[in-house]
Symmetry: C2
Subunit: 337 residues, 2 copies
Amino acid sequence: MAEYHRRNLITFVHPPHIQSYAAVGGSKEGEGPLGRQFDIISDDSRFGTDSWEKGEIQMQLQTIKLALKKADKCPEDMDLLLSGDLINQCIASAYCARDLGIPFAGMYNACASMAEGMVFSAILTGSGLMNQVVCAASSHFCTAERQYRYPLEYGGQRSPSAQWTATACGALTVGQTGGSVKINRAFFGKVTDFGVSDLTNMGAAMAPAAADTLSRYLKQSDTKVMDYDAIITGDLGEIGSNLFLKLLEKDGISLHNRHGDCGMMLYDESQDAHAGGSGCGCCASVLCSHLLPKLESGEWNNILFLATGALMSPLSVQQGESIPCISHLLHLSAGGE
Amino acid sequence: MAEYHRRNLITFVHPPHIQSYAAVGGSKEGEGPLGRQFDIISDDSRFGTDSWEKGEIQMQLQTIKLALKKADKCPEDMDLLLSGDLINQCIASAYCARDLGIPFAGMYNACASMAEGMVFSAILTGSGLMNQVVCAASSHFCTAERQYRYPLEYGGQRSPSAQWTATACGALTVGQTGGSVKINRAFFGKVTDFGVSDLTNMGAAMAPAAADTLSRYLKQSDTKVMDYDAIITGDLGEIGSNLFLKLLEKDGISLHNRHGDCGMMLYDESQDAHAGGSGCGCCASVLCSHLLPKLESGEWNNILFLATGALMSPLSVQQGESIPCISHLLHLSAGGE
């Protein structure tokens, strides 16, 4: 964390605006503390289809369509769709893009994909090269569980340090004007790897990436923790969050109770989610149900949003590799138009 | 193909420059018509490691390091690495990014990932938001075969319409100045799907995406086929290329022998590659070994480069879905500095 890259902090002269946003979730997310803030909660984990994967495609479609509707836009108004998910070959995003007919760029940075898409969305519109884009990320407990871990029918025991992949999607539109939240700065993270190889403790693996990104961002932007009302990480969960705070303390940075973690906000202790929520859809949906409204209402003026992603695969870990992680950061502020 | 999106054509006022490039391949690629134009050919399919996946990571590392070296740069000089591959969770790119330490954005648009990365590279540098970035894509016959099709040990028969996933990587650096090839325009494709669900005939599935992108690009840019010395598709192969030309004819567009396909350039008929090469690394390596030198030498002045990607997964096809495809386009021209 001692090395500071000079030029990858992007500060927008004309900050792009988040014009509208939407969040859709499953029944477990509906029962959580943020349930009532979601736009749609579906009790059907297949979202009206005959498979979980097709259900995730439908969930992403619903969310994006709703975000467009809230901005009073249709797919033809959008210059680009930037989206990602966790299913192999990112099929939730690809099939959703097919159905929408918007030019498409697939994002993959695991659970940091929403932030990756938002950084590019801000670049495209903030530079004036595009007028309006839409950005989304989704995950689904059932598609992730059988792909990364065990068939659900097997009923495997979950480790106490494990996180729960959210069945959720967040989508937002970004443009040069409109809306009451701005993206002031964007910052791409580096891949960090502290040698953690325990797939049931991803929060611990991701914490160093978030700490590295925040530490380098504060230095490069010449800002302080106290300049922000909240510093929100993606899905470190309880164990990862504690480690994140400790790593920052070593760097002389104290978050003064300004830290929140989307993975710890989505479920409460009674929901058996162990260390907290995870998955691309976790921070995407928390952002679009809970964080952006706080900026819109004026409760917050400035926040940092750091999604975190674990970039391994089951195969890479089987081959003895540890878990490389990344965290991209956005500085969001209230006040648009 | 009748619908024309208005605003997603990006024309650079200050076209960014491709400063350096490199291509690395395996032994089969070395034996092909372009073999001598590759920078490095490795006879070891594991590239000195103990697995094909780790081998692909090494191949990508070698290629990127060589592209940086040719530009007389080191990883610290780069503001961002944009890269993609075909292994689940894009692990070749993620582990390579970890070893390089450059801020990282993972691209996933299947075999169109190189073009996707190049479009974003051009946007980042052409807008002045970043100084220098590096972009890469890789694929590996052995990692793809066992992931998408059969274990290699099984020795499955290949269909005559099947393509051969290239063991290859291409990488290039893009900046605001330097180098003798410019990126003048960039154009994101839409996902198209003509209902093809035959995984052994991906060229046929991808052809409509390339035709759609080219057709819309020519309309939006108000240019003609004759304005370009060559129009090069990614990896349609023989069957897909024929279909591509026929679809364009229906739209009243004739390519006048200006069409070339990277999948048909990489291997010759004696190499048993059936319909041609494929994989992210196919068009990335042909671009960086064969196409860019022709622009640099002045043999060509203007070309269009359209990578094509098939966005399905084995699972989506098992669930009865057809193959959605995409093609991103770049207009490259000679003359830099």
